[in-house]
């Protein structure tokens, strides 16, 4: 309940007011909400649905149709774990477990502090370095599970730029 009250309804109000005069302006409203919040928070969508008198199912349908929209917050850093054969053979599963232990989220999710989004990827094409993961544009190869926490700490400390 508290979180609800803390929600920035005023931002949604502003966006709604900017666009309400224009017919069918749902998409620009969503674009601005996403710009404001970094994603499309459910609370914002439900609030907008009431303001627009438009069924939330329809708004959800629009949000899930266009690839630009995200219903979940995206992390500051995107971690991609390689699922290629080489990585599989070389034990990417252990790396994945280590990541999940550290991040406390399953594949496809974002950590609560919004620092990391954890995804898997078919093959990053660095089989010689297997097992491999990428964080943003940086590739980490020949990984061992015990190294994972240290790598993540670098990002947590904001020292990722020099890598």
């Amino acid at each position: 309940m508290k979180a609800e009250n803390d929600f920035n309804y005023a931002a949604v109000d502003n966006i709604y007011d900017t666009w309400k005069a224009q017919k069918g302006a749902l998409i620009p409203m969503l674009q601005e909400i996403q710009h404001e919040f970094g994603f499309l928070p459910r609370t914002a969508l439900e609030y907008l649905s009431k303001k627009l008198n438009q069924p939330i199912s329809q708004i959800y349908g629009v949000c899930t149709f266009y690839s630009q929209f995200h219903l979940k917050p995206r992390g500051q850093h995107i971690i991609r774990v390689c699922q290629g054969t080489a990585c599989h053979v070389r034990g990417i599963a252990k790396i994945a477990t280590a990541l999940e232990d550290e991040l406390q989220v399953p594949v496809g999710d974002t950590t609560e502090d919004l620092l990391f989004t954890y995804e898997s990827v078919a093959c990053v094409g660095c089989c010689g370095l297997a097992p491999v993961m990428m964080i943003d544009d940086v590739t980490y190869g020949r990984l061992i599970a015990t190294a994972v926490p240290d790598i993540l700490k670098k990002y947590e400390r904001g020292e990722d730029n020099d890598s």
């Binding site: 069918g24 302006a25 998409i27 629009v62 149709f65 690839s67 080489a86 070389r90 089989c127 010689g128």
Partner: protein
């Protein structure tokens, strides 16, 4: 006022990507450092992509000199040499444009549009201003007869007359099907409605097509003027440009252009003091290729899922918000002022019987000169591929040209004599589409290309109709099996049956044309499919799953690097002795090739 020299930097998306902004800054610095008084400005894309970054220098009384492939480091020198010493750096100079005197030593500089092979066969109507004017300064457009056509239309012509002129010109839609623009306008004009709209389709989503972006970035007013003329002709007072969100620069320049046009009363209420009012808005897409389909586009502007709706009713009768709507694409609208000012007959004198005017093509692939080329209709594919684009790189052999993006098809060498017009391309199983031309050499696998395009359309299917939603998925699965060496003999038949059924029954243009890349490659290159299926071979050497890594016994010195690098332990061999790869274990990652200093390992089909 004494004229200042002018420096123009090509700052379209392509120019920016090639480092245009850095070049611009370097020029600023060079001007300051050397206390040169010159006007520094920007322009859109002139089309010669391979030569980015492009910088033009105009010295009063001299022709405009175009420099290509300039770099941040070298540009300062080029500028100072040119402006202070009248020395033209031949390393970068591409040619001269326009009239004026040059020192005699530069007499041999090629005339940009006449002598450069890339431009020799081009006729620039739509791209008339691209690369010349600063798109962010409306006056530059106005100086080149901008808004004259609109003025003529709203002060001298009746709407019916405008429609007649457009009809007479033979202009056809440049976006896809090639429907007569004049007829479309006539239908919208005659449709009954208390409100009408003009909509510009700027949702250019085909991989490999970027002409609409170039026009919007380089000459937004030409599109807006075309829309306003359409508005006057059909009786609309409001227009939308639906632009894909991936074109932020185009959106920015459009919005700026609209603002400037409104300030000058060239848009908005009572344009140029007449009774005609026309307001224009920009709507950004949100990432759905299908919104390039006209009814899906309208749904999207209405704030809905971009799912196409059945036609009829056509947008001319029931379009945006169920009101009569005139919907054309960027290139079509950009042609309109030319049609009006030059007159329909002049326009119709270009092109063929059924296809009038020019068409802008985005040339990409294995060719020597990539870029945007505007050529007259009726020119042959061969001329475009070999004369304009300069043929295959490294003197390679031509294999096919993919025309029309994911909706188009692959045209083989023996059809290169085909003239470029709507009907010939459609007859060959391809289409004009938005005008993407991807040229492919011998090292392209046609099955892989088909799979590539289908992957695209499949992932962009809206999901509304059965054949597209389910059918493209199954076709893609079959193609994936074939390139993975798991193809079955009946797969070719299945692809044909599915492809025809989708083509025949899909709801919208995207679905109906989605099988084209597969059907045309099956039509012209069935043998490649058969080799993949029956011989498990990919002749182009593209489909990795059909290849094996082999170590050349002659070259291998048994260093063991490959063995150590192999992530799956597929390489065996004693030190200093010939190594071998166990093809069953090998996952074809290619690490061994990278590691081998002897270049002893290669992929064999």
């Amino acid at each position: 006022m004494t004229a200042k020299p002018k420096i123009v930097v090509g700052l379209g998306t392509c120019g920016i990507a090639a480092g245009g902004r850095e070049v611009y800054k370097a020029i600023e610095k060079a001007l300051t450092d050397n206390s040169i008084d010159a006007e520094l400005t920007q322009t859109g894309c002139i089309g010669a992509c391979e030569n980015e970054v492009l910088v033009d220098i105009v010295k009063p009384g001299q022709p405009r000199i175009s420099y290509g492939k300039v770099t941040e480091e070298k540009i300062g020198e080029v500028i100072t040499n040119h402006l202070l010493n009248d020395k033209i750096d031949r390393e970068f100079a591409l040619g001269k444009i326009g009239e004026g005197e040059l020192p005699a030593e530069y007499d041999d500089l090629p005339n940009f549009f006449v002598d450069l092979p890339f431009y020799e066969k081009q006729v620039r109507l739509c791209l008339r201003n691209c690369g010349f004017i600063n798109p962010e300064v409306i006056d530059e457009y106005v100086e080149r007869d901008g808004y004259e056509a609109l003025k003529k239309v709203i002060t001298e012509m009746k709407p019916e007359e405008v429609v007649d002129v457009v009809k007479k010109s033979g202009l056809r839609g440049r976006g896809g099907g090639g429907f007569s623009t004049g007829l479309k306008w006539e239908f919208t004009m005659k449709a009954v409605g208390d409100k009408k709209y003009v909509v510009c389709n700027a949702d250019e989503g085909d991989p490999g097509a970027f002409m609409d972006r170039s026009i919007l970035e380089g000459d937004p007013h030409s599109v807006m003027e075309g829309m306003a003329i359409a508005g006057y002709a059909v009786g609309a007072d409001e227009g939308y440009v639906y632009c894909r969100a991936e074109y932020p620069l185009a959106v920015k320049r459009l919005k700026l252009a609209i603002e400037q046009a409104k300030e000058k009363n060239l848009l908005g209420e009572n344009i140029m003091g007449t009774d005609f009012s026309f307001d224009l808005k920009v709507k950004e897409g949100a990432g759905a290729f299908v919104c390039g389909e006209e009814t899906a586009l309208l749904m999207s502007i209405e704030g809905k899922r971009g799912m196409p709706r059945p036609r009829p009713p056509f947008p001319a009768n029931e379009g945006l918000f169920a009101k009569p709507t005139c919907l054309n694409n960027v290139e079509t609208f950009a042609n309109v002022p030319v049609v009006i000012l030059d007159g329909p007959d002049k326009f119709a004198s270009i092109g063929t019987e059924g296809s009038k005017g020019t068409k802008v093509f985005a040339l990409t692939g294995s060719i020597n000169r990539t870029g945007l080329a505007e050529v007259p209709m009726g020119i042959t594919l061969k001329e475009v591929v070999f004369d304009v684009a300069g043929g295959i790189i490294d003197d390679g052999k031509f294999k096919a040209v993919q025309a029309g993006g994911p909706s188009g098809g692959c045209i083989p060498e023996d059809l290169l004599h085909l003239p470029i017009d709507y009907d010939s391309l459609t007859g060959a199983g391809a289409m004009m589409g938005s005008g993407g031309l991807v040229v492919m050499g011998e090292d392209t696998c046609m099955v892989d290309i088909a799979r590539y395009f289908l992957t695209f359309t499949q992932s962009e299917s809206c999901g509304k109709c059965t054949p597209c939603r389910e059918g493209t998925k199954r076709m893609l699965e079959i193609l994936q099996r074939i390139v993975a060496g798991e193809g079955e003999p009946e797969d070719i038949e299945k692809l044909k049956t599915l492809g025809e059924a989708i083509k025949d029954t899909a709801l919208c243009g995207l679905g109906q044309t989605a099988p084209n890349p597969v059907l045309t490659t099956l039509r012209y290159f069935q043998d490649e499919y058969e080799k993949h299926i029956f011989d498990k071979r990919c002749v182009a050497g593209i489909c990795v799953d059909l290849m094996v890594y082999l170590i050349d016994a002659e070259l291998c010195n048994g260093c063991g690097r490959c063995r150590k690098a192999c992530p799956v332990g597929a390489v065996s061999g004693e030190k200093k002795e010939l190594h071998t790869i166990d093809t069953e274990t090998c996952i074809k990652c290619g690490v061994c090739v990278e590691k081998c200093k002897q270049e002893a390992i290669s992929l064999q089909s």
